[in-house]
């Protein structure tokens, strides 16, 4: 295994230093390090962050390898600065058995560019009727800890209660896609002024808010962990703020966590004006007021983490009528730049490291990830050029799909290198495999 000497990098918000990566850990730090045989990486002007951790990635394999594979998604992740991704369960077949989660985990190991942590389905076939074998997935080689029916909501309150309770047995967490299905039948975009104008059936914010409120109360009642996926509405932020304040009052540590996507931090529902389905996503893009509330919630810590909800779709599933298109957007390769664009001034690099690496690693139970590069820590990190800008060109992305909503956007901050367990997956902005 090669060792690497990173020269002159600023670790998060710190002063320039050198980092020696050897045997999978940060072996030495300090100015003026030298190491025989180590490959030198000139990192003058770069910022080192703990390798980013994505709580919400759709890798599409098995089932839709035309849209993404574990390998292509891993390349996209590494290029985006990620060292770990949590792979959502809505594959075909669904990741609702130990067999499927182990397959995804093994494919991730074979790709070797990012630690792929499978998420298991909560219910058999995502059907919302009976629990999948959650314990078997937890005990498998994939060691599943996050369970989610993402794409579908666990809408049945009794089933949700049981799931929340059951996974306490192995420190699991239910990641809920909060969407009351009866309120969103046929829904195509945020219900508001734009949907009224465009004649597209609306997805009311209350469909998300009502489920979050219910689940917060259920989780508190049974003393279980709850993670809320892709929070999109201002009202949801208010409910989460209430939930966290309430748990402080009860004297027990907050067991509710929440994530927001980069696209909900930047884009609004008026993007639907031209009916280009690249802007169709679930939950939908909402209003400028929602974007402002989500940003404030993330800065305040009411929302704990940024997660991409990277959702690749084949060309034919997006080059069609809005109503027939699949919802979802690419995210892995643009997430960091979007967060920098939206919130670097409010969060600083340490705040970004907290919300894109340290906290998501803790939520996912990934002990090797989410550590600022420091002596003795696992060498999972990424190097960012904070002064670089780049223009998003869909065909230049590593993902197999092209459905980025940022085509033509010029964005700040570029990932220069990513190291996984001490070995580079990206150098000079290029993925090594």
């Amino acid at each position: 295994m090669n060792s690497y000497l990173i020269k002159g990098v600023r670790v998060v918000d710190g002063e320039p230093t050198d980092l020696l990566l050897r045997d999978g850990i940060v072996a030495e730090t300090g100015r003026g390090l030298s190491a025989k045989g180590a490959e030198v990486v000139d990192a003058d002007g770069l910022v080192a962050l703990p390798g980013l951790v994505d709580l919400h990635t759709h890798l599409r394999e098995p089932g839709r390898e035309d849209a993404e594979t574990v390998d292509s998604g891993s390349r996209a992740a590494a290029l985006g600065g990620y060292t770990a991704v949590c792979a959502m369960a809505n594959t075909s077949p669904v990741a609702d058995t130990a067999g499927v989660v182990e397959q995804v985990w093994r494919l991730g190991r074979e790709a070797g560019l990012v630690d792929v942590q499978p998420i298991g389905a909560v219910t058999v076939g995502l059907a919302g009727e009976r629990l999948a074998e959650l314990g078997a997935m937890a005990d498998s080689a994939a060691r599943v800890r996050i369970f989610s029916d993402d794409g579908n909501c666990v809408a049945d309150p009794r089933l949700m209660r049981r799931a929340l309770e059951y996974v306490k047995g192995f420190d699991g967490v239910i990641a809920q896609h909060a969407e009351e299905p009866r309120l969103t039948e046929g829904a195509q975009m945020h219900e508001g002024i734009e949907s009224a104008r465009l004649g597209l059936p609306g997805w009311p914010a209350v469909a998300e808010e009502a489920i979050i409120a219910r689940d917060v109360l259920l989780a508190e009642h049974v003393g279980a962990r709850l993670h809320v996926c892709h929070v999109s509405a201002a009202g949801s932020v208010e409910i989460l703020r209430w939930a966290k304040r309430r748990e402080r009052l009860t004297g027990r540590p907050s067991k509710v966590t929440a994530e927001v996507t980069p696209h909900h931090l930047l884009l609004t529902d008026d993007r639907a004006s031209g009916y280009d389905p690249v802007f169709k996503v679930n939950p939908p893009l909402r209003t400028a007021e929602d974007v402002a509330a989500l940003r404030a919630g993330l800065v305040e810590g009411v929302i704990d983490a940024v997660a991409t909800d990277h959702a690749p779709h084949a060309v034919q599933d997006k080059e069609c009528e809005w109503g027939y298109a699949r919802p979802g957007m690419l995210g892995l390769e643009t997430a960091l730049s979007i967060v920098v664009e939206a919130l670097l001034g409010d969060l600083g690099w340490d705040g970004i490291a907290e919300r894109m690496s340290r906290t998501p690693a803790r939520i996912a139970g990934l002990a090797d990830h989410g550590h600022n590069p420091a002596k003795g820590r696992p060498a999972n990190l990424t190097l960012i050029d904070p002064s670089a800008t780049w223009t998003v060109e869909p065909t230049a992305l590593a993902s197999r799909s092209r459905n980025t909503p940022y085509a033509g956007f010029t964005l700040p901050a570029k990932v220069v290198a990513t190291f996984l367990h001490g070995q580079p997956t990206v150098l000079d902005g290029k993925v090594l495999r």
């Binding site: 508001g192 734009e194 609306g202 080059e319 009528e321 809005w322």
Partner: protein, 305 residues
């Protein structure tokens, strides 16, 4: 006119909309002549691309194009969707290859004409897309109002019924606002979009309170299926609260007209004796449809700037 496509009634500014109505008047005058044809669009190809049954609108566009001497191709794609048959994009590329100068599209998905316009070079005319818009219907409605009342500016128009799902209502609100009329939408609150606050129109829930002050009352078709989806409790309750019957017509000012884009549910949103009364413009609207669509094709394809 300087617009390339007609996707929404909001694509038309006041000058364009007035030009369409004025041209339609000339076209209507021609319809009374022995030879009803103009050579303007000779050599041009107009495709009627219909993904929904709508004999009324298709025939109206077909007659309009033929009276302007265009070649008309009817492409019925009913039942086509992404899951079965050819995609809209492939159909667009086919029409492009055939050299269509204009495509008139009717489609169940809102925004399908926008997508089509993205893929072909010719002019796209929206002949009704999902629950979005139906701009030529709004033009023919405006034409009808103008021919009955002599003006549109300042008219008070009530649009009554399933506004939420109505492409006719959306296009009419835009166009009537552009032309200076004042619109009040009347419906049970379940059939008014949550985002109606963005529209240049008033909203009322009480039909009887609105009727005495209007110059035009436009009744929208209410599909019986809405009942099973709990938008209202029953057909009879809807008819009682929002149907236009003879008693309500008596509350209208004497000069007020009654419109309906068709097809009607007689006895539901409109009583048969009202539909057939002298105030009703329903048959006129159909006839005016051809003149207005001729005007649109003439102005958009005829090379007249």
């Amino acid at each position: 006119m300087n617009i390339r496509h007609l996707l929404s009634a909001s694509d038309l500014d006041r000058r364009d909309a007035t030009a369409v109505l004025d041209t339609a008047t000339e076209m209507a005058a021609m319809a009374g002549r022995e030879v009803k044809k103009l050579p303007t669009l000779r050599g041009k190809t107009v495709v009627n691309l219909f993904y929904e049954d709508s004999t009324r609108t298709r025939i109206s566009f077909e007659a309009a194009a033929k009276r302007l001497s265009a070649d008309v191709i009817n492409f019925s794609a009913k039942g086509s969707s992404v899951s079965k048959g050819e995609s809209l994009k492939d159909t667009a590329l086919t029409l492009q290859a055939m050299g269509a100068d204009a495509v008139v599209i009717r489609h169940p998905a809102s925004g399908a004409p926008h997508r089509l316009a993205h893929w072909i070079d010719g002019t796209v005319l929206n002949a009704g897309d999902g629950t979005h818009e139906h701009p030529t219907q709004a033009l023919l409605d405006a034409y009808t109002m103008r021919s009955r009342h002599g003006r549109i500016e300042g008219l008070k128009v009530a649009i009554v019924g399933d506004v939420l799902h109505s492409r006719v209502a959306r296009s009419n609100v835009h166009l009537l606002h552009t032309l200076g009329a004042h619109v009040t939408l009347v419906a049970p609150p379940t059939l008014i979009p949550v985002g109606v606050t963005g529209w240049p129109a008033d909203v009322g829930y009480d039909l009887d309170a609105v009727l005495p002050g209007v110059d035009v009352v436009m009744m929208l078709r209410v599909q019986r299926e809405r009942m099973t989806d709990s938008f209202f409790p029953s057909e009879r309750e809807y008819a009682r609260r929002y149907g236009l019957d003879a008693d309500r017509v008596r509350a209208l000012p004497s000069h007020a007209i009654v419109m309906h884009p068709g097809p009607m549910n007689r006895g539901m949103e409109i009583a048969p004796e009202v539909a057939d009364s002298a105030r009703s413009t329903i048959v006129e609207q159909v006839a005016n449809g051809v003149s207005v669509r001729m005007a649109v094709l003439y102005l958009m394809l005829g090379g007249v700037k």
